[in-house]
Symmetry: C2
Subunit: 461 residues, 2 copies
């Protein structure tokens, strides 16, 4: 009996090891192909340099849609199509102006995404500076007629810069309504930048609340925020001039871009992979999110070049309008739900194209443990990818995921150190992307996609 | 009895957990201090921009020595001193020239470190191209009078670029002697660059063998190597012109820079931490190794700012001449050995200032397991530092470590993706360093130094 047990154990070990060896061999090929023949970096160059930034509803965004569709059509997908999406188009208009009235000291500002404009002649008013919106309470009626300036420095201590961003981003979105409710006439928000000396303003979405006046809302660079704060210490009654022209320009018809690679064993079970194709209207939308779209496309291309035949249907989705409305992912979810689709897994890339570190995973605890035990060892030592932790899905998967609570979701996590220095600024350009880092991420995404396709049915629910 | 055992277990858990909590708390402070108040980046700016590159024996290298000593003297060390080191000074002379004779197509080249010069008028000869020096055998006497061109492309498939570098670096050092032995008159070596389109030549040390002629040895950029290879396919008899003026210029007296922070409990037990202060004579020696010196200094400064009192003596060493002679680390080892010093641990930083990923460790298997169990969890999830693997010490620690076989050695490992694109080139400048990545590395180094100082006596041998 002992002998039989040992033999069975030995057989299991051999089968187990040969499967692991097969996976490891496939990953070796994936990494080699991505580094040697990957096109994510070249495609990114076109997207950033030849098309450029592409806010949802703009002609550039639609140009990116059409060009992306062409890229997919040149690959051996079974189906490539556009999904109609209607987005509200927000236009920044001419460059914003801001300065301290008395000294004419210029302040670097950008309208926050969704902001209304100032009157044509601009506005000039005294400033109330606080760290937190909650601090406005104590000013009572004094807020009336003022510009409110939320000057909360970034918490530099965190390696996980996404958490530092999250600590303060709600003040960006809640600010205008809370200030307007108290009679404030404009909102000035210290940019969410990980660098305290950064003189680039960082934009990002904000919002208004029905029934409360919409007031102009602008981001001020970290450095200008410090400068203004110093001047306010010397003269609490100084006035700041603000002028911006941004406005909503109605609804525009645009698209998600989708390609499908039909599964050979379970074609009705879908693995969705992708990222958003729109960007803010600054820089070139390179890390946010050119790398995510060009990276996920290249991950699939890598598997195709290796002659891989997927078991499940792999669906590549470039979502429209993640930055200011998430209409693309809402539409994707509504249609998938109405068709009763089975989306077994989702992979999203929307955190930049830096050195790949791992994936945040939304799954059961049992599935997470399984992934940490079965897959992490394949990535960790050889490919330097070691974070497989419970976490939130990406924004787009999270949105459509409301209809698919059982889908296992993977959120690609590249190195977090450099992202929030360039995020939502003029600095988010092609030159900020390193080819090896990007293609290493492509290989990590392709490896994960391969493992999900091969083994998701063995994974505990 | 059971009750007592449980209680004892509970007490141990409480002690264990409170110690781990204390370590975690200290690391939180270290990271915050490094990100918010760290000076590694500012010091690096001075070293790279105001001093610049600093090959051993140059006046710039000595300027870096004097300036570094001043930095250390401004900190609360117990002792700061210079250690005399004699180095052979190699000087590149005027810019090298290389072109294909027939077309005058320019080739980007750099003399390899240690190379002799061509005759004043240069040399012009036919070329034998091989991938491996071993392939020269089949050419027999045909090598005589020729330039040998080793054109081995970089293996792009590896995330661990250090291994790809190691695969081919011995051809750089062995080449000149092996070629000269066969009658070749010059050596042209494809640069060790991780980017196949790189048009910057990468220098690096080479060597001659006594009794064999010293021939000029030059690195050619990856792109120029491809161009030359293509031309050779069209015309195997084309001639290449090479001219360089580099030469050894005798022995120069210079220094290691050393500072000591005396231990409060075991002052006779020393923890050495540092990196090399010299660089190649190109670019600004930013990642190689400005970040290593300025980073280790700032790690100690971080602990000092936190009011830490070390148990062991912490000795900061800036080694001279790592790049082309390792005379600094040899001298350090000889003196330490002659004094019978107890160096219990060594930490070296000489792999760039990119996002910190972990440490290669030279220790017993038991000690490694202990580190992986006790320390890795403190770094992994929160600070994204997760590689604690068996590996080689840094070059300098490895050299003096020959006298100290029982010293536990830690080799700092930053992210490997970008290093070998800029290594030993004009591209290794301050702008290639990111402040958050560098200060994150400082925090990782300071945290490790703290843990080593606190716990090395509990570590299994």
């Amino acid at each position: 009996m002992k002998k039989i047990c040992l033999s069975l154990f030995a057989v299991c070990c051999i089968i187990g090891s040969s499967k692991a060896q097969q996976d490891a061999g496939m990953m070796d090929q994936i990494y080699r192909t991505s580094f040697e023949e990957g096109l994510a970096y070249d495609n990114l160059r076109y997207l950033t340099k030849d098309i450029g930034n592409r806010i949802a509803g703009s002609t550039k965004a639609e140009e990116a849609v059409i060009w992306s569709k062409g890229l997919m059509e040149a690959m051996p997908f079974d189906k490539v199509y556009l999904q109609d999406v209607e987005v509200p188009f927000w236009d920044r208009g001419k460059k914003e102006e801001a300065y301290i009235e008395s000294s004419k000291t210029s302040l670097k500002v950008l309208a926050l995404g969704g902001s209304v404009s100032t009157p044509k002649e601009g506005i000039s008013a005294e400033v109330i500076e606080v760290e937190f919106l909650a601090d406005l309470k104590k000013y009572g009626d004094a807020v009336r007629g003022k510009i409110v300036f939320v000057n909360k420095p970034w918490d530099e201590s965190m390696v996980e810069t996404g958490v530092a961003y999250g600590l303060n981003s709600s003040q960006r979105s809640r600010g205008p309504a809370e200030v307007a409710k108290l009679g404030g006439i404009a909102y000035l928000f210290r940019s969410l930048s990980s660098s305290p000396d950064d003189d680039y303003p960082h934009t990002g979405g904000t919002r208004y609340v029905e029934g409360i006046d919409s007031i102009p809302a602008l981001a001020i660079s970290a450095k200008s925020a410090q400068r203004l704060s110093e001047e306010l210490k010397k003269n609490a009654h100084l006035k700041v001039f603000l002028k911006n022209e941004s406005a909503w320009k109605g609804i525009v018809k645009t698209h998600n871009v989708i390609a499908e690679w039909k599964g050979s064993e379970k074609p009705e079970e879908i693995i969705t992979i992708g990222g958003h194709i729109d960007s803010w209207d600054l820089g070139e939308g390179a890390h946010d999110n050119g790398t995510g779209t060009m990276g996920t496309l290249d991950a699939i291309r890598t598997l195709m070049r290796l002659g891989y035949k997927p078991k499940h249907t792999i669906r590549l989705v470039f979502y429209m309008n993640e930055e200011n409305g998430v209409q693309g992912s809402l539409k994707y979810g509504e249609i998938a739900k109405s068709k009763g689709e089975q989306i077994v897994a989702a992979i999203e890339s929307d955190a930049g194209g830096f050195s790949p570190r791992g994936f945040d995973i939304k799954s059961s605890a049992e599935a997470l443990h399984w992934i940490q035990t079965q897959w992490k060892p394949l990535f960790e030592e050889k490919f330097w990818v070691s974070r497989f932790l419970q976490g939130s899905p990406g924004v787009d998967s999270g949105i459509w995921g409301q209809y698919f609570p059982n889908t296992v979701m993977f959120n690609f996590r590249p190195d977090p150190h450099r992202y929030f220095d360039i995020h939502h600024t003029e600095k988010d350009v092609f030159e900020a992307v390193d080819r090896r880092e990007l293609q290493s991420g492509v290989a990590a995404l392709a490896s994960l996609l391969y493992l999900v396709d091969q083994q998701i049915n063995q994974m505990p629910k």
